[in-house]
């Protein structure tokens, strides 16, 4: 060795055995997934964001629970329903409160309290939870948006891609970890919401049925299926938007792009749907009317909402959506193919200069 005059001791031979796991494809994929899950749960950003979201859910439920308690303290007369009749002009109504008997008022209060309490106990509480999660799907972007872009921002992408696994395995592992994280979050939300809901139910004064009234219901099985299926659809809805963020984070190699563009996509879909709905009312027929009605049926949010609405219809609730389940599944599948396929293709072929 040029210039070395002293005796240099070699590095110590490793005392600890360096044990490698299986190098088979799926074993590697599973190990990478566990690594990604480890990073996610050790990251303060994810823990804090997830905790804030759960905290807001809990706060919302507490507020509703105490409202129900406050309503339970009201006298039966506060629950008297008004009867409204229309007048001569359009929009002209006259509402009066008939003279109900005490028994009728008590019944009205009971019915009203049962309806409110149903949102606190199973299965109604889950329906409410899933409706809230459906409406706040943008939080998925906040929660998991940085998953891909951060690797490029920090430069750790070159750490990921130079240790042995293929680039595709790294990407797939991140997506699987993302889905598992969302599932864990949903399970936590369900457990906390259900437990808290049952405690708050006691404030309603309505007797609690530990069979949740289901076994007496004509469509008990259908209700359970629809509720669980709705939850699954909302979970995949959240996963879809986290995948949108993942794709743009990969494309732009940036966390800011991941969150910004995905959030913009979410807002844009809402705005486009509203504008097109208005336009299709203004132009009541013709090809433009048809076009304005058709475009929203290819938006991501519209198709998920349709699936959820159709599940509610299954249990005799809302009217069915104008989008069929088959159409929705095909469109959603197409989006996943583009987003996940695009992420894989971009990652596989690109030069990593970060």
């Amino acid at each position: 060795m040029a210039g070395t005059s002293q005796e240099i001791a070699p590095l110590p031979t490793p005392v600890a055995t360096i044990e490698f796991g299986s190098s088979k494809y799926f074993a590697t994929l599973w190990r990478l997934t566990r690594m990604e899950l480890y990073k996610i749960r050790r990251r303060r950003y994810t823990i804090i964001t997830g905790s804030i979201i759960l905290g807001l859910l809990v706060l919302g439920l507490l507020i509703f629970g105490f409202y129900v308690f406050a309503q339970a303290q009201q006298p039966p007369s506060a629950f008297a329903t008004q009867v409204c009749t229309s007048g001569n002009a359009v929009g002209n109504f006259t509402c009066t409160t008939p003279n109900y008997s005490q028994a009728q008022l008590v019944l009205m209060k009971q019915t009203s309290m049962q309806n409110m309490a149903a949102q606190l106990g199973l299965p109604g509480s889950l329906g409410l939870l899933f409706a809230i999660l459906e409406g706040t799907v943008f939080l998925a972007i906040v929660l998991l948006g940085p998953l891909s872009g951060t690797e490029y921002t920090l430069g750790t992408v070159r750490l990921l891609f130079t240790r042995g696994p293929t680039r595709l395995q790294c990407v797939i592992a991140k997506l699987i970890a993302s889905l598992i994280t969302l599932a864990v979050f949903f399970i936590l939300a369900i457990v906390i919401w259900t437990g808290l809901g049952m405690l708050l139910y006691a404030l309603s004064g309505v007797p609690y049925s530990y069979t949740f009234g289901l076994f007496h219901a004509a469509n008990a099985g259908q209700t359970v299926n629809a509720t669980l299926l709705t939850g699954l659809i909302v979970l995949i809805f959240w996963f879809a938007f986290s995948t949108v963020a993942f794709f743009f984070g990969t494309l732009a190699r940036s966390t800011a792009a991941a969150i910004g563009v995905a959030f913009g996509w979410y807002v844009f879909e809402g705005i486009v749907s509203t504008i097109l709905a208005l336009l299709s009312q203004l132009i009541s027929s013709g090809p433009l009317h048809d076009l304005f009605q058709q475009i929203p049926t290819y938006l991501l949010s519209s198709n998920f909402s349709a699936l959820i609405q159709n599940r509610a219809n299954d249990t005799g609730g809302n009217n069915p959506a104008t989008i069929t389940d088959l159409h929705a599944l095909l469109v959603i599948g197409g989006y996943f193919v583009i987003l996940i396929g695009g992420s894989l293709l971009l990652t596989r072929r690109r030069d990593v200069t970060n």
């Binding site: 060795m1 044990e19 796991g21 050790r42 070159r158 696994p165 990593v352």
Partner: protein, 333 residues
């Protein structure tokens, strides 16, 4: 160290043939033919933008070559990258880490990524590496709180975690204080003593001369020189001649230049130097001839001594501006 059956002792651990990389119109690496043998501590030298980091990135599969081939351990890195990478540890440019994780967690992530099992043995190995790079005391602190030197040591720990056969170090002493630089140098020497093959890309030529046995010098993507350090230093044999005055030094320079033109081909090159001195690339054994040549013209030197060229001089001659290459036509005219 156990030797992989693909590679015998004298075969190349790294071999590139006509390796080329274009970024649009920019030619970052141009027909590079590189060879590292087992056990080499190979210095990879070149000014900024010469293609060193681009080459290292191509070796690791981060960049796709525009043309040419790369073989590591006898395997083609376009088709067998997954077999190659577990045997390589690397630091590329600035150290990278997950700043929100601790040093220990960063090493665990690298371990899992590298295919190590998540078990007691891996945790022991991580503790061992932390001890090796002197980070045991701060292992559980978040890396965001580490100093630059600590981050650099962590990066080295990550590179050595799987006890790789080949270690690629791209500017490992960037931003370190002299103590840190010394530690890295000692570590590289220990790596070499352990039988590992090291590719060291660095600007600190003195350090490269201290630790490397072979070097390659790049400029603008081209290989200017590749070979054993000791051979390059011998090629750079030089004499320093000092006169009494600057005028005498200038006269001596002209005289020796004319001698070179008239057949003294053993004078390879001439440079003026400070303090009434000049340097000749010439064998030390010719010192008496030079003294005689000058004396014939009544130029009596104050001092003549051998001056071994160091790597820095060789490097600057190869990649520096024209006047540093001793262009006598420009000086004489």
């Amino acid at each position: 160290m156990e030797q992989h059956p693909n590679i015998s002792e004298h075969e190349a651990i790294i071999s590139t043939q006509d390796l080329t990389k274009h970024f649009g119109k920019l030619v970052a690496v141009d027909h590079l033919n590189l060879e590292l043998r087992r056990g080499d501590v190979f210095g990879f030298l070149g000014p900024n933008g010469s293609g060193k980091t681009t080459t290292i990135r191509m070796l690791l599969g981060l960049l796709r070559p525009t043309s040419g081939t790369i073989h590591l351990f006898g395997l083609d890195n376009t088709t067998d990258l997954q077999k190659i990478l577990p045997r390589v540890g690397a630091i590329i440019e600035a150290p990278v880490y997950y700043s929100y994780l601790s040093g220990y967690d960063n090493l665990l992530v690298v371990a899992l990524n590298s295919g190590m099992k998540h078990n007691l043995q891996t945790r022991r190995r991580i503790d061992e590496v932390l001890e090796m790079v002197n980070l045991s005391q701060r292992a559980r602190d978040r890396v965001a709180k580490y100093s630059l030197g600590m981050k650099q040591r962590l990066a080295i720990g990550m590179a050595l975690l799987t006890d790789p056969e080949l270690v690629l170090l791209d500017e490992p002493t960037n931003g370190l204080d002299p103590m840190g630089v010394h530690e890295i140098r000692q570590l590289i020497l220990r790596l070499a003593a352990s039988g590992k093959t090291v590719l060291l890309s660095s600007h600190i030529l003195y350090e490269v001369q201290q630790v490397c046995n072979r070097v390659a010098i790049l400029q603008k993507g081209h290989m200017l020189k590749q070979g054993e350090v000791r051979e390059l230093l011998v090629v750079g044999e030089r004499l320093l001649v000092r006169m009494d005055t600057d005028e005498q030094a200038e006269s001596a320079l002209k005289l020796l230049y004319q001698a070179q033109q008239n057949g003294a081909s053993w004078i390879k090159d001439l440079y003026s130097a400070q303090n009434s001195a000049l340097r000749l690339d010439a064998p030390v054994a010719r010192a008496s001839e030079i003294t005689g040549l000058l004396a014939q013209e009544h130029l009596y030197l104050a001092e003549i001594r051998p001056e071994s060229a160091n790597l820095e001089e060789i490097f600057l001659e190869l990649v520096g501006p024209e006047e540093r290459k001793g262009n006598m036509a420009a000086l004489i005219n």
